[in-house]
Amino acid sequence: MKEHHLILRVVTKSLVGTIILFAFYVQFHGDFSPGGGFQAGVIMAVAFILYGIVFGLHEVQRVLPAWVVHKLVALGVLVYAGTGIWNMFLGYEFLHYGSFTPDHMSHGQHSGILYVEAGVGITVTGVMVAIYYAFAGRTPRLGNDDW
């Protein structure tokens, strides 16, 4: 693969960090402003996709190997469902976060929302990156000049 322009690479490197930071912000600030696990997951994935587009699939897969991504895909769902199952073990309904702190329900709600949003974030990041890897792993039919 042809190397991209130097400036592009430098800008990308600095941008990727910022985007990841922003993703975490969206992830954990979803309680107060628009955003949440899904949006954060997408943004996080965009960081890796950007890195991949500029530096190539091989490079990004050295940072984030495909098998890790595939585990993440599954992990998020399990974190989410696991939160609910934990509630069940505490003797409450599935996903009844209040059960974490039975004497002060809304505290439990806070932690519950945090866990499940994390679950969503992990899966969405995983899936978006995995889909990108899957598409990028195919040989393109159109060359750069065909567009």
């Binding site: 309680d31 628009p34 949440g36 098998w67 599935f94 809304s106 929302i113 899957a134 195919r138 039919r141």
Partner: protein
């Protein structure tokens, strides 16, 4: 009044974009127009107080799905053949469906009506009780993650399904100790 004007302008642009997509045969243009459509939609959502949705639509419609579509075009073809079939049947189907929808709107409450059934039944509960019950400022998050948390689990499962679906169709699952083992399997 300004709201109405903004809405109207957004609408006109949306309709123009949609019609342009109908007529366009260059897939690249189609995808780009779709991306524009999504951005306009996101703006409309903001105008309709749905900031979370707008954020998501922008990220998904203008971001991810555009990237994926471009990727697909790169892997397949860049032009679409102009339609060769007669389009009377599609037109008929669409007109009938549209007529059904319009028929349905005739008994709908006015747009923005605070007394509409949807705005007086469940919504007040969420807007008043969630402060005490969940204590999260963003009511959308409260509903999304707690009141209707199971829907969101389902949503995550849908994403998961799509993820493993794409893997299954395009690449297959990767393992940590790959290479030797997988080549063995394929053989």
């Amino acid at each position: 009044m300004t709201e109405t004007i903004v809405n109207f302008i957004l609408f006109s642009m949306l309709v123009i974009t949609a019609f342009a997509i109908v007529r366009q045969d260059r897939l690249f243009t189609v995808v780009m127009l779709a991306s524009v459509f999504s951005l306009l939609t996101a703006m409309l959502f903001i105008a309709l107080d749905a900031v979370d949705v707008a954020f998501t639509e922008a990220a998904v419609g203008a971001g991810i799905s555009t990237v994926l579509m471009l990727g697909t075009i790169a892997l397949t073809a860049r032009g679409a053949k102009p339609a060769s079939r007669p389009n009377t049947l599609p037109l008929l189907v669409v007109l009938v469906t549209g007529a059904g929808l319009v028929y349905g709107t005739l008994d709908m409450p006015n747009f923005g009506d605070p007394e509409a059934p949807s705005n007086v039944h469940l919504s007040p509960h969420y807007l008043t009780n969630s402060i005490e019950e969940i204590d999260v400022p963003n009511v959308v998050t409260s509903i999304l993650a707690s009141y209707r948390g199971f829907d969101t689990l389902g949503e995550t499962a849908v994403v998961f399904a799509a993820g493993i679906g794409v893997l299954m169709i395009l690449s297959g699952l990767r393992h940590r100790r790959r290479k030797d083992e997988e080549e063995e399997e394929d053989a």
